[in-house]
Amino acid sequence: MQSKIRFVFAVLAVMLVLVGGISAQEPTTLSMWYHGAGNEVERTILLGIIEDFNASQSDWVISLEEFPQISYNESVTAAAVAGNLPDIIDVDGPVMPGWAWAGYLAPLSLPEGTLDNFLPGAIGMWDDQVYSVGLWDAAVAVFARRSVLEANGIRIPTLDEPWTGEEFDAALVTLQETGEFEYAFDPGMAWTGEWYPYAFSPLLQSFGADLIDRSTYLTAENVLNGEAAVAWGEWWQSLFARGLAPLTQDGADRDTGFIDGRYALQWNGNWAALAALEAFGDDLLFLPAPDFGGGSTIGAASWQFGVSASSEHQDGANAFIAFALQDEYLAAFSNGIGLIPATSTAAAMTENYAPGGALEIFFELSLQQAVLRPPTPAYANIALAFEKAAADIANGADVQDALDEAVDTIDADIEANNGYGFGG
């Protein structure tokens, strides 16, 4: 009998040790980098998601490190060189293919159907696989005042019937001739860098050109310097030559120029919409981009989450991303920082992007008109080459020469990198 009791106790003791060992197992810490240092609202929302995720399971704990947005890419690149990447990386949409190609990122492994309802601009594809996904997107529109357009007999365009290129140009001339504005149009010359390809290349695309030949991703020849591109360049140059838009601009003027009435129309993003709404209320209009023949298009893809290829816990990193993609979090980010939620169901939960909301049109713009910047590792170089060409053309350079130079720069880079994986 005693031996039976001892046996039972021994079994119980072993079970207790096992159970105790299991229950005492510490969750694995996953490191996560995010670009929003200094933005308290973003930080609060993100920390809320992390807290919810940590509480929802016992396997993983997320440790957040925030970086300033301006230098985030450089920090990640340096960390990659040092082999010091985190498990979860925040990545800007157009930059993602470069990081995937360089081996910083691993393809995502999300539950089936997770991305079914997502805006195309919020999904980062490379090599036919999803490498990143965003909780939001951003969109640009022509900011205008109904009273100004009506007073000058200018048709108010719609998503279905945007201005044609001729209509848009004629509207600019009409508005300039009123003498009420310093300039008819503020394209945003105060902003440099990514603003150029994000905001101006859709206009180029609307002329029928593009930044690169998307059928091969091996050259920009005849695409960025063909007839359509030259037509864009000549129109673009004429905006400044005819005094319809300011060639130079400081940041303060960009922020206040339209609101203060120095510009009749402004090419700006949804992030600036609430300030303009506050100034003009119902008089404010957000209009689709003009259609120069190739369609009315805008840029797409904002910040997204990806998983580091060097992460030893990719399953945990994917679990967090899948968790963060819930509509309530998409809506929280949208309400907090004003960006477009990545799903229509989340949009319906927001103040501004819900049907009838003040910024509803931006969701539709993203859904219907967004064109991704070329998803290629060459993009970083393409963006620089295009920015230089657009700036040179605005400053009066020969259009064909400026575009040829951009094409040469882009093609040389692609060749030097053996096609970045394209073309076999």
Partner: protein, 294 residues
């Protein structure tokens, strides 16, 4: 009683013109600082609108310390300033000792190969830091360090990774070398005859008469280190070790909070101004004697 010398009538105009020019130049240099401090007291919209008039330099309108409060809420400014103060102070103080001793060796001592090595040190001027940043990153990432957790490999995310690579400065060595080389050799010879050791000559003879060059080297190094940006960006991923210039970027969001930017810049400029004003006399004296134009 002797008669006062008679000055030519144009002399007064010359003095007046001189002063007028100096006052204009003073305004040119002072106005940006005045603009920064005044703007730090204004709300963003007023700040931006005032830039188109002289109001930009006047503390008028809706004046408050709100930007300072908001800046402290947005970023751990105290941590950034503390990190920069530690990194800068240690680098400047230790660097002054190391580099001045190296220069002393080049300028005063006699040893084989001295000129060749000095030439090599000076030649490193031409290599921009950006060119060695990646190799340096790989090196510091593979070096051991004994810390609170024992021996660990890699210096990333620390204060010492921002200090040690910058202790030795070819420019500082050259600066000290130029100054030491022009000192009267009799001083060193006399000390030798009196039986002073090499270190005693450095410490008791050279250093006490080299105040201006030490001040110059300190100010220039201080500015370099206080404004460090690229290196900490590469080697520091943790907010805990970030310096002030990386911290500045916390304020550049989609909608830039210009008032907070100005408040932050005012805060981080104060230590630089204090150091410069306290060493100003020696700094100017050094520029006059070494021919270094800062």
């Amino acid at each position: 009683m002797s008669a006062q010398p008679v000055r030519p009538p144009h002399h007064n105009w010359y003095v007046l013109g001189n002063y007028a020019l100096l006052i204009i130049l003073a305004f040119v240099f002072v106005f940006p600082i005045v603009f920064m401090v005044v703007s730090s007291l204004k709300p963003d919209l007023q700040l931006l609108r005032d830039t188109s008039s002289l109001n930009a330099f006047l503390p008028i309108g809706d004046i408050s310390l709100n930007n300072y409060t908001a800046a402290f809420e947005r970023a751990p400014i105290g941590t950034f300033i503390f990190n920069s103060v530690v990194v800068t102070t240690v680098t400047v103080v230790v660097g002054l000792v190391i580099n001045s001793m190296a220069a002393y060796s080049f300028a005063v001592l006699r040893w084989r190969g001295k000129n060749t090595i000095l030439s090599i040190v000076i030649a490193t001027f031409i290599i921009p830091f950006e060119a060695i940043a990646i190799p340096l990153l790989l090196i510091v990432n593979s070096l051991p360090w004994i810390g609170a957790d024992g021996i660990q490999i890699g210096w990333l995310n620390s204060l010492h990774v921002q200090i040690i690579p910058f202790l030795v400065s070819a420019f500082q060595i050259f600066l000290f070398y130029q100054f030491f080389r022009d000192l009267p050799t009799e001083l060193v010879e006399a000390a030798r005859i009196d039986g002073a050791s090499l270190f005693q000559i450095y410490y008791r003879v050279i250093v006490p008469i080299s105040g201006p060059v030490f001040a110059t080297a300190a100010i220039l190094r201080f500015l370099d280190m206080w404004n460090q940006y690229l290196w900490p960006l590469m080697v520091v991923q943790s907010e805990r070790y970030r310096p002030v210039m990386v911290g500045l970027q916390y304020f550049f969001q989609l909608d830039i909070a210009w008032g907070e930017v100005m408040a932050y810049l005012s805060l981080v400029t104060i230590p630089v101004l204090i150091l410069y004003l306290s060493l100003q006399r020696a700094f100017i004296s050094s520029i006059a004697t070494t021919g270094i134009k800062g």
